[in-house]
Amino acid sequence: MKLSSGLLIAALAACVFSVGAQTLPASALPPQEPAARINVEAILGVEGLDGKVRKYPRTLSEYGFFLDGSGRTPDPRLIAYELNTPLYSDGAEKLRYVYIPEGKQLTAQGDGLLQFPVGSAIIKTFAFGEGADQRYIETRVLLHRADGWLALPYMWDEEQTEARLALVGGRVPITTPAGETISYQVPNKNQCKNCHQLNDVVTPIGPKARNLSGDWLEMMGQAGALDKASLAIAATHEPLPVWGDRVSANVALVARAYLDVNCAHCHQPGGSASNSGLDLRWEQDSPHAIGIHKPPVAAGRGSGGRKVSIVPGDPDASILVYRMSSTEPGVAMPELGRATNDPEGIAAVRAWIEAMEPAS
């Protein structure tokens, strides 16, 4: 992992940190001093109290999201959340938080993505290992600045004391919960955008009203962090199935939720895979658009010799299942963010296709 310019920035940064209402020379600070406040200037990328602009803050601790340098204790102003159906990332455990500037609110747009005020941040840490063996690998932040969202990856050091900006991403050897040894990929800044862009604008993916629990939305409403009218709208929508409870849910809903969360950020109009014509969003109801009897456009060897994305009743003949079941670059889908297959997701999609009525 090389970050030469990051190191140079550090050297040039005049050794001054912005902490609280004061400007202190770095030498006056013990290395693990907790931030006295959330550093809104770092989120916004504007001039800090030290007179410096940090377009790309070089460490996670600069934001002050956590009370300790090791990122284990979130600031009380961070709000944890979970998703009903999560994105598969080689089995990583994810710790997710939102930060909403004081006095501001989220608003809902139907069951879709919650709208975050400028100055908000979404923070997601990827961890592997159980209990005392748990290790943080990376923390990704999405910052809502005046000129739009910015996605930045931070990689944790070996000692688990600091996460540093990794604009170019990196690879880390990991043993997954399933016991596979892999080269885990931390995405670079462009790869963050590859999934997080819609019509060439960076956008969050996860916190859609339909993929959050009713309890969480209610809690946010009570706390004044979600506008009340929005809460009423969001509450009328059917939520995505909870992944852990999927055995008792409708197979089609489970599979469509999985595809929505794992594929649709690219496979939708305006997404990175828009040219494929495949649209895997939850709200898409055209059978052709979601892949039924749809021939590929630019799949190349990704077709695996199969003719259409989904053959009703025949998962083995469906390109969708073939590409989900491969780890080979150029074949594997999603293209980014996994080095292993997700047996649960594959099973869910297979069951859905199997249950479809074959064409006569």
Binding site: R54, Y56, N188, Q191, K193, G302, P329, E335, L336
Partner: protein, 401 residues
């Protein structure tokens, strides 16, 4: 001191920055150094790739407008800049470009796991003097497209070489205002393919030893349909007889070996002044899209196609489609005529003095078993107007000066 400049720019982002050269050398850490330069580049900057072989492990990407990536050459020896993806572990292409006004020139991409270079939504892009190659030659395990601009306006692909793509060497999709000229495309399934695109000129290319030389297609069900206004002129389309090695499911997997120029489901296509030599199925083939579709916008036939001034060499002696050999036998001929239509064209104008065979299909989607082959003759009153010249923004040509 380039790095210092970058760092300083980050610290004082309000300060104007002059265009810079960032020189990258092959060797240890090339992946990180090159990707970092691509991320930190400012509009107007040039990333200079020194000569040598860059061993890369992941796909590269560029998302900054107005950047040039310039190597020392596209060749295969030590004087060239070769991005070698043989050990690639992730991503769907070697290099992905998602920003506008980008110039890619004078380097090579070898053995990408997926596509070679893809640019998506990248307007005003220039691909100049590049080599994209799968060095093992034709293999269905090779990546799909060599040079792959999609969903953009103003595309220039020139003086480049692509070999071994398991779909198309140069593929332009869902775009408009396109010039593809002076390229060499060798041993791909399709040499050059213009798909679901409008206003394209494919000129002065050499397409040889592909399965099909130059394809002009439109497919249903995509965000952009209705391709047309395509000029295919002054190309050498020779010996395109390589067995089709595209994986099943891709539209080009249905292209017969021995195809010179194929036009499917497009409007206003002119095939002029090409040298068409030794393509063993057909030098020029016109067909309708024959699969089921559900897309009201879609027009499945070749409409307003004109052939003029082409030179036809030998060919058509080994037609690679079902019933091809029977057709030859029934005609008592050594070779099929150089121009073949399924019969579903509308307003075909053939000014060349060569015979044209029609398979006599009357309905789109009709199986070939119902073909009623007969020689076709030019109806009266069909004429073709010249296509408007494709004009790229003036600054694109200036960028190469």
């Amino acid at each position: 001191m380039i790095r210092l400049t970058i760092a300083a720019a980050l610290l004082a982002s309000a300060a104007p920055v002059l265009a810079e050269n960032h020189t990258i050398a092959p060797g240890e850490g090339a992946q990180e150094r090159l990707q970092e330069a691509l991320i930190l580049a400012e509009p107007g900057d040039t990333i200079v790739l020194e000569a040598g072989r860059y061993a890369l492990t992941d796909g590269l990407s560029l998302d900054v407008d107005g950047v040039t990536i310039k190597g020392a050459g596209m060749g295969a020896d030590g004087s060239a800049s070769i991005l070698d993806f043989t050990a690639q572990q992730g991503a769907g292409e070697g290099l992905l470009v998602t920003s506008d006004n980008v110039t890619l020139r004078d380097f090579a991409i070898e053995n990408a796991k997926g596509d070679g270079i893809k640019s998506k939504g990248a307007d005003n892009i220039i691909y100049h003097a590049l080599r994209v190659e799968w060095t093992n030659g034709p293999d269905e395990k090779n990546g799909a497209y060599g040079i792959y601009p999609v969903e953009a306006s103003n595309i220039l692909v020139q003086d480049s070489y692509v070999r071994g793509a398991s779909d198309a060497g140069i593929y332009v999709g869902q775009s408009e205002n396109i010039i593809v000229r002076r390229n060499r495309v060798v041993e791909n399934v399709a040499g050059i393919e213009i798909e679901n695109s409008n206003k394209a000129e494919v000129t002065e290319n050499l397409a040889t030893r592909n399965t099909g030389g130059i394809l002009v297609f439109d497919l249903p069900g995509l965000p952009k349909v209705g391709g047309g206004d395509v000029l295919v002129a002054r190309n050498a389309v020779i010996d395109n007889n390589t067995d089709n090695f595209a994986p099943e499911g891709n539209i080009v997997a249905s292209v017969p070996a021995g195809t010179g120029v194929m036009v499917m489901a497009n409007t206003n296509v002119q095939v002029k002044d090409n040298a068409l030599i030794n393509n063993s199925t057909s030098h020029v083939m016109l067909i309708a899209y024959s699969q089921d579709y559900d897309d009201e916008r879609y027009q499945p036939r070749p409409v307003n196609v004109m052939l003029q001034g082409n030179v036809y060499g030998s060919g058509g002696a080994n037609p690679d489609f079902e019933g091809g050999a029977m057709l030859l036998a029934a005609m008592g001929a050594e070779a099929l005529p150089p121009v073949l239509s399924d019969g579903l064209h509308t307003n075909l104008k053939v000014e060349d003095a060569v015979p044209v065979l029609s398979l006599g299909l009357t309905k789109v989607g009709q199986p070939l078993t119902e073909a009623q082959p007969a020689m076709w003759s030019q109806p009266e009153g069909v004429s073709a107007e010249a296509l408007a010249e494709v004009a790229l923004p003036a600054d694109m040509e200036l960028r190469l000066k």
